[in-house]
Structures are given as C-alpha cells and as structure tokens.
C-alpha cells in the first residue's frame, strides 16, 4: 500500500523544486528567448555545493574529527551530523543558509560565464555547448571523489532534524514551497515590469530593442545570472530533501523535463509555468503509481519518457503556445496628453 502522507509530501516538495527550475527556464527562454539547454548544470551546481560543503562544515561544528576517506565515510558522518543538528537548530539553520548563499553565488557566476557564449553564439551552437558543459560537470562530479564522493555519492546532513518527529516532512514541503512561491512571485513581478517588457522586446526583435538604447548584452547577462542562481537554489533544496547527492542524477534528461514543463504550460506566461509543472508532476506520479499495478515486458520508465517526448512533440506541433498562452502585456492605460508646457507629457488623462 502506498503511504498517502509521504506521497503528498513528495508531490509538494518536488512541485516546489521543479517550479523553481521551470521559473528560471521561463525567465530565460519564455521571456528572453534563450533556450538554456544546460539547465541541469546549474541545478547540479547547487546540489554539488551542498554535497561538498554541508557535511564538512557539519562535522567541524559538531567537533567530530574526520577519519578515513571522504568517499566511503560521508554517509556515516552525515548521520552523525544530523544527530547533532537534532539538538542544535541554530547551527542547522546557519549551515543551510550558508550553503544556500554559496550555491546561489556559484550559480550566478556560472551563469555569467555561460552568458559569454550565449551573447555571441547561434542558438544551436549555444545548446550543444551548454549540454556538453553540463555533461562534463557531471563526469567531473562522478570521477573526482573528494568533491561529492564520486560514484558512491555523498551524504547530506538533515538540516531539519531538530523539528519534532512527524513534522519534518511537512517542514520540507514548507521549505520547498515557500522558496518556490518567492521565486515565482519574483518571476511574475519581473515579467510584468518594464524589465520584463524589455526582455520580450529583445526576444521578439533584437535589432529594434537595441535601436531603442537597450543594452542587449547586459540584459542577457543579468537574466542568465539570475536564472542560474535560481536553478542552484533548486539544487540546494533538492539535495537537502533527498539527503544525498549522486552525480549521475544530474543528467540532461532533467533539462528536457524542465523544457517540457515550460513549453507545455505556455512559454512567455508565468501562469503557464505553474500549470506546466503541475501537469508534469501529476503525470509522473500517476505513472509511478501505475507501475505497481501493471506488468509489462519492458521497463515502464521508458514508456513514461516516450510519452513525455510525444507530448512535447504534439504540443509543439498543434499548440505551440501551450496550455496557458502568452497574453498581451499588462500596462496602465495611458494616453499622451498635452502638458502644461509645450512638450507632450506622458501621464494619465481624466
């Protein structure tokens, strides 16, 4: 029997994590038109930061001396640190905030690095460059043991261990959804602000936007830095929620899923992102439950991926605007009025 409570916790937490990722993709692709096919790299940047730092700081705070290899002992030490966090909530929160800050900065720096090719390259060159960079990042994580334990993965201490028993799961839902809500609200505010209108102008007609004095290079750099920091934050929450980080988990399939959510929901509309993530999570969880009841001569996970691929193709072919299409911009209804002086002045007329 499936535990309904744990299922809901999983759905809620994963919704939050994917909403952050999809919001960052929506900002980059939906608003600015840069298809960031290396999304998983920035997601991994956040998770790898937590994997590499959290257990080390934790042991230092708890005063435990580390013996043996990082690769083989990290799981053991992370449980010891979790036990320490259970009685020291302040230290746990401090470790969480510290790793979050480092990850966000690291993500933003990676985003700025990625913006150099993004400013100059054709979309297909950029896509293959970012895919390859993400794959190399994953390969590095898998082969360089001191970083995140190589093929063994690394244990991540539980920063919510101090919550009373039974409420910890609810804690992770709250954590994930509150970060997701904040990220999405930021996306929404950006999208409806003059900044967002500029992004769409650049997306639709780069030349026209630049003739109006918009510095396209700077806008792209800002958006990629912000989007990448968002993806890194998603990686941090994912790492703490899973309790471990495994390099091979961060494969290009994750990027595909995020693209699927944004295009399915409707790129260019922040509400589309909310819907797209929900539809994906619903389908994914339904398939996961069906797995227990259906016996097929092949692995049902492949059937699920086939289904997602076909869904994305059908959306692109028959409803490219997605479930919730992009709407005209929200602006204050303004008219040009004759001002008191000779020059026309832009203000509301009665």
């Amino acid at each position: 029997m499936i535990n309904i409570f744990l299922l809901l916790v999983d759905i809620g937490t994963m919704y939050g994590i994917f909403l952050i990722l999809a919001s960052s993709m929506e900002l980059e692709y939906g608003e600015l038109g840069i298809p960031n096919f290396g999304k998983v790299m920035f997601f991994a940047a956040g998770a790898f930061t937590v994997g590499a730092i959290a257990v080390r700081i934790g042991t230092w705070l708890a005063g435990i001396t580390w013996e043996g290899e990082f690769k083989t002992k990290s799981i053991l030490y992370s449980t010891m640190v979790s036990r320490y966090f259970a009685s020291h909530p302040l230290q746990a929160i401090a470790v969480f905030l510290l790793t979050l800050a480092i990850a966000a900065v690291f993500g933003a720096i990676l985003g700025i690095v990625a913006s150099y090719p993004a400013i100059r390259l054709r979309e297909d060159y950029l896509a293959i460059t970012l895919i390859a960079a993400g794959e190399l990042f994953r390969i590095f994580g898998r082969n360089y043991d001191p970083l995140i334990g190589g093929t063994m993965g690394v244990g991540v201490p539980d920063v919510l261990a101090w919550l009373p028993p039974g409420t910890k799961e609810a804690g992770y839902i709250l954590l994930s959804l509150s970060f997701a809500a904040a990220t999405w609200l930021m996306l929404y505010r950006l999208s409806t602000s003059p900044f967002g209108r500029t992004l769409r102008a650049i997306r639709d007609e780069e030349l026209a936007a630049s003739t109006l004095g918009k510095d396209i290079v700077k806008y792209r750099m800002k958006v990629l830095a912000l989007g990448s920091a968002m993806a890194a934050v998603a990686g941090v929450i994912y790492a703490y929620y899973m309790g471990s980080v495994l390099a091979d988990d961060f494969n290009p399939l994750k990027t595909f899923l995020v693209v699927l959510m944004v295009v399915l929901g409707g790129s260019g509309n922040p509400f589309g992102t909310l819907v797209g993530v929900a539809v994906y999570i619903f389908l994914d969880r339904t398939l996961a439950i069906l797995k227990h009841y259906i016996v097929l001569p092949f692995d049902i996970n492949y059937a699920a991926m086939l289904l997602f691929g076909i869904i994305l193709l059908l959306v692109l072919m028959y409803r490219p605007e997605g479930i919730v299409p992009e709407r005209p911009l929200l602006t204050v209804k303004a008219k040009f009025c004759k001002g008191d002086g000779e020059k026309p002045e832009r203000r509301l007329c009665k």
Binding site: Y125, A133, I139, V259, L260, F298, L316
Partner: protein, 303 residues
C-alpha cells in the same frame, strides 16, 4: 610510441564520425535545424542490422544495407511527420531545435523498449552487445575487417554522394533547393520531395556509421546521445554548411579524440579516460573562438 592498433582504431572511429557529421550537415543545410536526435539515427540503424543478424542468422557484414535502410527510413519519418509539418506552420528555429530534443528522448526510449522486448522474446543480449569481426589477409598482413570495410564504405558513399550532387539532374535540383528554396520552387523543383530524399540519405549515412559502432565498443540505446558531442564538434569545425568541411572535421575530431585520450591517459598525466568528451568539447570551443565559420571558411569566401 603510439601503437598501430590505436591508429587503426582512430581511423575506424573517424570514418564513423565523418559519415555522421556529413549527414548532420546535410540535414542542417536542408531544414536549418540542429538535429539533436542525429546520433540516435545511428543506433536505430545498428539495432535494425543486429535484429536481422539474430533472427535470420545473416552474416554480419551483409546486414550493412539494412542499417542504411533503417536509419534512412527513420530519418524520413521524422522529417515527414514532424519537421516538415512544423515548418509549414511557421515554427521558429528554436522550436524545431526543441522538437529535435523531444525526438531524441522519444527515440531513445523507443530503442530502450525495443531492447527490453528483444531480450524478452529473442533471449539475446540487447544491450552492450558487440559484433564479431573477421580478419582479412591483405598482402600478408592480418587486418581487422572493420578497418577495411569502414574505410571502403566511406569512400564508396562519398563518391556516390559526389556523383549524385554534381553529375545528376536530381543533384542539381537538390543544390538549388538548398541554396534558394523559393527560386527552386518557381523553377518547378519539388523542394519538399528533394528535402525528404536528403533526409533519407542523411539517415542512411548515419545508419551505416552506427553499424560500425559495435565493432569498437559495446553498443547500448543511449550511445546515440553520447556520440552527439563529437558529431556536432566535427560538423561545426567543418563550417556547419559545408559537406567536404564536415568530412574533414570528422577526421580531425576523431583522430584527436582517440589519440588525445590515449596520450593524456599515459604517464605523466594519467588522466581518467572518463574525461574523454573534454577533447571534442575543447575543439568545439576553440573553433567557435578562433574559426567561427569553420574549416570551410579557409577555401570559400563567405556570403
């Protein structure tokens, strides 16, 4: 000193890459889309050939045309069912690119399902399989069959493509349709059909390239995605719009990848061979920085 076997391995790998980057370039020239499912066409081809081998007991090298056919038909289906309708509806370059990514995911899942079914019904290895090679005696020297046959295939296919493009009426129509589609249409060329045939040819070339894979490394459904980076690096190095450039790019990337990985994994560097994709990646970055229009810009002045 580099072993002769490594040089021969580099030759086989480069033959394969040359065919793949050539066919990728052909699809990019016709549809103006970077097809991220291109590596999968090779895997479709090799699974077609492998199935025939297992079911009918056909000798390994005789199944090579089957690999061509499977890759070609699959590429044709992708073009007719997805790319062509999308383009008619006015899909943008980025949307076509995302579609190719979706095709990649769907194709790999299909091959995975097929591999599961194959194992279930035929009771054979359907993942990480290899082909047994024959040894040929050429002038008293024992040579692996794949070295001879892959080189011969590349030579034959390239000559045929050259004759087709340069000496036949269809080839002229094809070049016209690539260069200026509206004008070609005005002159009575069925551009849609010409493009469809180009995609079939490109898929066929990819299928043949895929056929060479199991002679070198254990072949699995996901291999198509893994070889995507060297294919793109070769095609971009070749100048993305040049068929001869793509072939040269294939050899440059192939030889540097094999020799580079070999040399870097020796003392004193002792790099793990897992970092092998770093070499095509470095070539890709260097090309984009130093020679953004590829090798082809050396001999052709740009328009």
């Amino acid at each position: 000193m580099v072993d002769v076997n490594i040089l021969l391995d580099a030759l086989v790998y480069s033959n394969m890459l040359a065919l793949l980057s050539l066919s990728l370039t052909l699809t990019i020239m016709t549809l103006k889309v970077a097809n991220f499912a291109h590596g999968d066409l090779a895997i479709v081809g090799v699974y077609g050939a492998y199935t025939l081998m297992v079911v009918m007991g056909v000798a390994t090298y005789l199944t090579l045309p089957v690999a061509f056919l499977f890759g070609g038909v699959y590429a044709l289906l992708c073009y007719v069912l997805i790319y062509s309708p999308m383009r008619r509806r006015g899909a943008s370059f980025v949307m076509l690119m995302i579609a190719s990514m979706a095709i990649d995911i769907a194709t790999r899942s299909l091959i995975q399902i097929y591999a599961d079914l194959m194992k279930f019904h035929l009771k054979v290895y359907s993942r990480a399989f290899i082909f047994n090679d024959v040894m040929l005696n050429i002038l008293g020297v024992e040579v692996r069959g794949i070295v001879v046959f892959s080189t011969l295939s590349v030579a034959v296919l390239l000559s045929l493509l050259y004759i087709l493009l340069m000496k036949t009426k269809f080839g002229i129509a094809m070049r016209a349709a690539i260069e200026n589609p509206p004008l070609a249409e005005v002159l009575g060329i069925n551009v849609e059909r010409v493009y469809a045939i180009s995609w079939f040819l490109a898929g066929g070339f990819a299928g043949v390239a895929g056929f060479f894979l199991p002679f070198r490394i254990p072949t699995s459904p996901d291999l198509g995605f893994i070889i995507l980076l060297p294919i793109f690096a070769a095609s971009i190095l070749g100048g993305i719009n040049s068929l001869p450039g793509a072939v040269i790019g294939g050899y440059v990337v192939g030889i540097s990848e094999i020799l580079g990985t070999y040399l870097l994994s020796q003392p004193p560097i002792n790099m793990s061979t897992a970092y092998r994709p770093a070499i095509p990646f470095a070539i890709l970055i260097l090309t984009l920085l130093l020679l953004p229009r590829g090798i082809a810009s050396i001999w052709s002045r740009g328009d």
